[in-house]
């Protein structure tokens, strides 16, 4: 198993800075997902690691070896492309074996690898077909097969599931997870779909504007987002953001609308600045209907509308000049109207400085 280390990687396209001094450490056997909206630089970073694009500054190490100056074929990587990039005039078998034949790998070895990959990905029956005769999911598996057959140590995947329909995507996600576990390969995966990222990754690098906003395991990203952007990007339905200011009343508090929310149990990272502006983030599942006698972090809000989502119902409330949503069970949400008292689970909140957008 091989790791990848990226240091100080920068790249610009003309006046546009696509990557700004990226540092990333991918441990051997990791499944790292580069997640972000379009234009954030995730594909650029992947291409830079692959060596398909030149970089302006920085270095890439694969397996401890500096490969920054090397051609993609000399880096020990394999890649799966968004459009699969299968060779249209060749059969599946030739698609899989072409690269090996060009490298003069012995015929018996080629046949062994092709057989192994066909078995692993269940594409044995497709070997004599051409890509145009395959379905989207089958082409995808052939593309993965072509990457596997090269027996690289690091696999780079560029939005491989985005051309598939939703059902197929779910199936292929499971396939990929299974492959990762059985092969123990190091994988770097690009996607804009945060559900894919959350389900597949061992660690996720959330990117925006050429920078990595946070690089952590999925649960850390979800429960303790480092920036406002990450908090809003990860998780669906999205996190609630309430604006207010910090205050002190024997213990730190947040003053939001007309309420005072106690913050004594909140693990502040930075120094507490009384009077400073604050954004309080809380996920809808951590907002519930308050018990009648409850005290502490309880607010009063006006029911706006109800969105049934199947297993849960998302209910929107007007809270002063702001809105807040709560994830309730369909039974508790039924017939809800008018003024309601909501309880906020203080142990699950995230506080952000609105100017720096960083977690407090």
């Amino acid at each position: 198993m091989i790791g990848v280390v990226v240091r100080g990687l920068s790249k610009s396209f003309g006046p546009v800075q696509a990557l700004r001094g990226i540092d990333l450490v991918v441990e051997p056997g990791d499944f790292v997902v580069l997640l972000g909206p379009s234009g954030c630089g995730k594909s650029t970073l992947l291409n830079a690691i692959a060596g398909l694009d030149d970089i302006d500054a920085g270095s890439v190490q694969i397996g401890g070896v500096d490969v920054t100056q090397r051609e993609p074929s000399e880096r020990g990587i394999a890649m799966v492309f968004q459009s699969y990039a299968l060779y249209p005039t060749m059969t599946v078998r030739r698609n899989l074996s072409f690269g090996l034949r060009v490298r003069s790998v012995p015929k018996t070895e080629i046949e062994r690898r092709v057989a192994w990959v066909s078995e692993l990905l269940q594409i044995g029956g497709l070997l004599d077909r051409k890509p145009s005769q395959l379905s989207g999911g089958q082409r995808q598996r052939v593309a993965i097969g072509r990457a596997l057959v090269q027996q690289a140590k690091v696999f780079l995947l560029d939005e491989p599931l985005s051309n598939l329909d939703a059902k197929l995507r779910t199936e292929m996600r499971i396939e990929l997870k299974r492959l990762h576990q059985s092969l123990g390969a190091t994988i770097i995966y690009v996607t804009h779909d945060q559900i894919e990222a959350m389900t597949l990754a061992t660690r996720i690098a959330v990117m925006r504007d050429g920078r990595i906003e946070q690089y952590a395991a999925p649960d850390v990203l979800y429960e303790r987002p480092a920036t406002l952007f990450v908090a809003g990007f990860v998780g669906s339905p999205g996190m609630n953001f309430l604006s207010g200011s910090l205050g002190r009343a024997s213990t730190p508090v947040a003053r939001i609308e007309t309420d005072t929310i106690p913050l004594d149990s909140y693990p502040f990272r930075a120094a507490f600045a009384e009077g400073g502006e604050v954004v309080l983030g809380i996920r809808p599942e951590h907002v519930s209907l308050a018990d009648p006698g409850a005290r502490g972090s309880v607010i009063e809000a006006e029911t706006l509308f109800i969105e049934p989502m199947g297993a849960d119902t998302l209910v929107w409330f007007q809270y002063g000049s702001q809105r807040i949503s709560a994830r309730l069970s369909p039974q508790r949400a039924r017939g809800l109207s008018g003024k309601v008292r909501l309880a906020l689970d203080i142990d699950q909140i995230s506080l952000f400085d609105p100017t720096t957008e960083r977690r407090l």
Binding site: G51, D54, Q69, R70, E71
Partner: protein, 288 residues
């Protein structure tokens, strides 16, 4: 991946060397013709045509324009030039218009047998002139337009129909049909939609079609030779007659000047129109 490796640099050098050599292959014949047309006959006799002129002058050009001889007539190619112009303008205008209307009719209006029509046009585009030449002569002389200006114009329009129709049809078929449907819901009819919806969007394809037809018709030889009539012989026909007259000493400089004068209009059009020309010839070649 930074600077090129040594073998890659040699490869790159070889690439450019081949391209430049090929560029010379393409350019030299024209340059030779230009340079010889600027020489005097003595210079042509004594030196090779690949040598540039020592004191270039345009007298051969003047003679070609005003006094070159085809057989007994010595009026120069300016006669042919104006003939070609008189043939060109109506032919191009009418064949482009016909192609546009036909293409529009075939692409956005339900016409029974449209596919058959398109196939017939496609085949028609490939039929060599020689196959229908004699019958066409018979038809045009029966109508009374054989060997006349209307005759050659009609023939050019005829032979332009398949390519022009296919060109415009493919273009209009690529426009969203919601445009026409919306206009029809608003109550516009066939002609109204053509004038208000299609034409404004057609500027590029009109340019391409005009360039294609202009180049093709100006450069035509066979049809002009047969259908235009003695008083309307286009420049290409006159040029060939001048160049193949073998009475006395061959005035290469005059012949080459005549060739250049004939080549100049489409050549200038080519340099001026860039990508439109390329689109024209590739579209004309691929024909949908």
């Amino acid at each position: 991946m930074s600077a090129l490796t040594a073998p890659a640099r040699i490869g790159r050098f070889g690439l450019y060397a081949f391209l430049i050599a090929t560029a010379l292959f393409f350019a030299i014949p024209l340059l030779v013709v230009i340079s010889t047309s600027l020489k005097s006959l003595d210079e042509i006799r004594d030196f090779s045509i690949f040598v540039p002129p020592s004191s270039p002058h345009f007298s051969a050009w003047w003679k070609a324009w005003h006094a070159a001889c085809t057989g007994l007539d010595c009026g120069g190619v300016h006669v042919g030039f104006w003939n070609s112009v008189r043939i060109l303008i109506p032919s191009v205008t009418l064949s482009v218009l016909a192609g546009a209307l036909n293409g529009y009719a075939l692409s956005h209006w339900k016409v029974r047998g449209a596919d058959l029509i398109l196939l017939a046009l496609l085949l028609g585009a490939f039929i060599p002139y020689q196959v229908i030449l004699y019958p066409l002569v018979k038809i045009t002389s029966t109508i009374g337009i054989y060997s006349s200006l209307p005759g050659i114009i009609a023939v050019h329009i005829l032979f332009g129909l398949p390519v022009m129709t296919l060109l415009f049809r493919n273009f209009y078929a690529g426009l969203p049909d919601q445009l026409v449907k919306a206009a029809r819901v608003d109550g516009a009819g066939f002609w109204r939609i053509f004038a208000s919806v299609m034409l404004p969007l057609s500027v590029n394809i009109l340019i391409v079609a005009t360039i294609l037809q202009t180049t093709g018709i100006w450069n035509d030889y066979l049809l002009g030779l047969i259908f235009a009539g003695r008083e309307n012989q286009p420049m290409t026909v006159q040029l060939n007659a001048i160049a193949t007259t073998s009475t006395g000493e061959i005035e290469y400089n005059v012949n080459m000047a005549a060739a250049l004068l004939t080549a100049l209009p489409p050549l200038l059009l080519y340099f001026a129109s860039g990508r439109f020309f390329v689109r024209g010839i590739t579209a004309g070649a691929v024909k949908g």
